[in-house]
């Protein structure tokens, strides 16, 4: 396949899939008896709902995005520091891992009320809960990366009597980057989901602070189903944007040397 036709197919193929999905969608909608059609509103009805509720949806998106980004950013910083600590010795890892896992094992709806007691409902809680779930994949992957440095390269640094600091900055950290980005991708996928679930469980609509999770609960209660679908699509879009940002960052950082980005001319 020539590069041009390859690029074209990258747009054409998903577009084609999209067209098929929409056709099926309408097919199912009209297959249902009229009184059951509320189960699957048409794309056109959902578009209308977007238009009608755009102010509410925009503010809810902004609130959720804030919570997701705050939690994600916090997870990024804390996990990096903790991964450095954990990479120091197996002793540190065995002492700390069980507790990190315990945190990860506790379901978010159970943690939510605890968070609310501590930091109050709303943005604080959403960010904190997002942090909790985004944090684990980051710390695990980054730690794994920091301790998986190629033995031969470690030997090379020992040979030239590199200081611990030089070894960390010039060897362990760059070698851990692919692992770090694996964690970051998972975190970027679950952070928006976490933020929405957190918002359902610990959100607050006080002062226009409600997020997408909150809005979904409201639309469901009001039986505004097209608006509910519009909310679902919005959460989806939020996840896509964060993912795309992380993928771009990974590509910019790793494209020159990592095998996953190798493009060989044949």
């Amino acid at each position: 396949m020539s590069p041009r036709s390859h690029a074209a197919s990258r747009i054409l193929l998903p577009a084609l899939t999209g067209a098929v999905v929409i056709a099926l969608w309408y097919g199912i909608h009209f297959y249902l008896t009229p009184e059951m059609r509320f189960l699957l509103p048409t794309p056109a009805a959902i578009l209308d709902a977007f238009r009608e509720h755009r102010a509410v949806l925009a503010s809810a998106t902004w609130n959720t995005a804030q919570g997701a980004l705050l939690g994600f950013g916090l997870a990024l910083v804390v996990s990096s520091v903790l991964a450095l600590l954990l990479s120091l010795s197996p002793l540190v890892r065995t002492s700390l891992y069980p507790y990190l896992m315990a945190l990860q094992m506790t379901p978010l709806p159970v943690l939510a009320p605890i968070c609310v007691i501590w930091v109050g409902a709303g943005l604080n809680s959403v960010a904190l809960l997002t942090f909790v779930i985004a944090f684990f994949p980051l710390v695990v992957n980054t730690t794994q990366g920091l301790i998986s440095t190629d033995r031969n390269l470690v030997e090379l640094f020992a040979l030239y009597r590199a200081s611990r600091w030089q070894q960390l900055l010039r060897l362990r950290v760059p070698a851990a980057l692919p692992y770090f980005f694996t964690g970051l991708r998972i975190a970027a996928t679950i952070a928006p989901i976490g933020a929405v679930v957190a918002d359902m469980n610990a959100g607050s609509s006080a002062g226009g602070g409600g997020g997408l999770g909150f809005q979904a609960v409201i639309y469901a209660a009001q039986a505004k189903y097209p608006a509910l679908f519009a909310t679902a699509l919005t959460t989806c879009a939020l996840g896509f944007v964060l993912n795309a940002a992380v993928l771009t960052l990974a590509w910019l950082t790793l494209r020159h040397w990592h095998d996953a980005y190798e493009r060989r001319d044949r």
Binding site: E155, L159, Y160, R161, R170, A175, L177, H256, W257, H258
Partner: protein, 260 residues
């Protein structure tokens, strides 16, 4: 021969932990300018000997000196070429060559000049900005050699540097290595499994026996330097290759300990 030896093994014994003796009372000294090849069965302790020299692993018994000091104190005198190219994949060729100099605190301006010079030496001047994955196996090995040469070592340790390469590339790099050496006469310890390579490169060959690792035989190679492609066709060269091969075959296959 009054010159002080650059490397001196005096009854050097090595064992890892409570394991078996890996090197058994090695006594040997190398003069400045010697090119010493180590050849012997797999597992006889060739790499271990180099690691002792580099101070990467301590001597168990006996005494080992490099330039009159302990290997650890003499670390700045030597460079090491591993069996694998061992390049940092995220650095360009030039930055890889730059790295050990940087770790040793060589100022930036001096580093840049040295890097350019050694890359020219291994004929990779045009690849300075490339990443390791864009190079062939032989080219990567040349970068690894350039990186070692950039430190201007008095002692160069090479552990089967061309083991993974095809015969043609290997012969070519052998000639290149000797040509480079003409410019700066470092002393070399070179591990190989190829008798032809050992004879072509060295003035002394140590044939090691296994379990425990010990010197089975030392062979002097009186062929004059510079050696070229023609050297490989000479009578003396071919006789030496045959002789060393015969000696290598006479190394007991069954470990000494197992026989007794």
């Amino acid at each position: 021969m009054a010159a002080a030896p650059l490397v001196e093994f005096r009854g050097v014994t090595k064992r890892f932990g409570d394991g078996p003796v890996v090197l058994d009372r090695i006594t040997f000294s190398a003069q400045p300018g010697d090119f010493v090849s180590l050849i012997g069965p797999s597992g006889c302790g060739k790499s271990t000997a180099l690691r002792l020299l580099a101070g990467l692993s301590p001597v168990t018994e006996g005494e080992l000196t490099v330039a009159g000091r302990t290997p650890d104190a003499a670390a700045a005198e030597l460079a090491y070429v591993f069996q694998e190219p061992t390049l940092l994949p995220w650095l360009t060729v030039a930055h890889n060559v730059d790295l050990p100099q940087r770790l040793r605190g060589v100022p930036a301006a001096a580093r840049a000049a040295t890097t350019r010079r050694v890359l020219e030496l291994v004929r990779l001047g045009d690849k300075a900005a490339a990443y390791p994955r864009q190079l062939s196996g032989g080219q990567k090995m040349r970068v690894s050699i350039a990186r070692a040469l950039a430190l201007e070592p008095r002692l160069l340790l090479l552990d089967e540097p061309f083991g993974a390469l095809d015969e043609m590339t290997r012969e070519h790099l052998n000639e290149e290595l000797l040509a480079i050496r003409g410019a700066a006469a470092w002393t070399a310890f070179f591990v190989t499994h190829s008798v032809a390579e050992a004879v072509f490169l060295s003035n002394r060959i140590l044939i090691l026996a296994s379990q425990p690792g010990r010197i089975h035989h030392e062979v002097a190679v009186p062929l004059p330097y510079p050696r070229t492609d023609d050297t490989r066709l000479s009578r003396e060269y071919l006789d030496l290759v045959a002789g060393v091969s015969r000696l290598l075959r006479s190394v007991p296959a069954v470990p000494a300990a197992a026989r007794s």
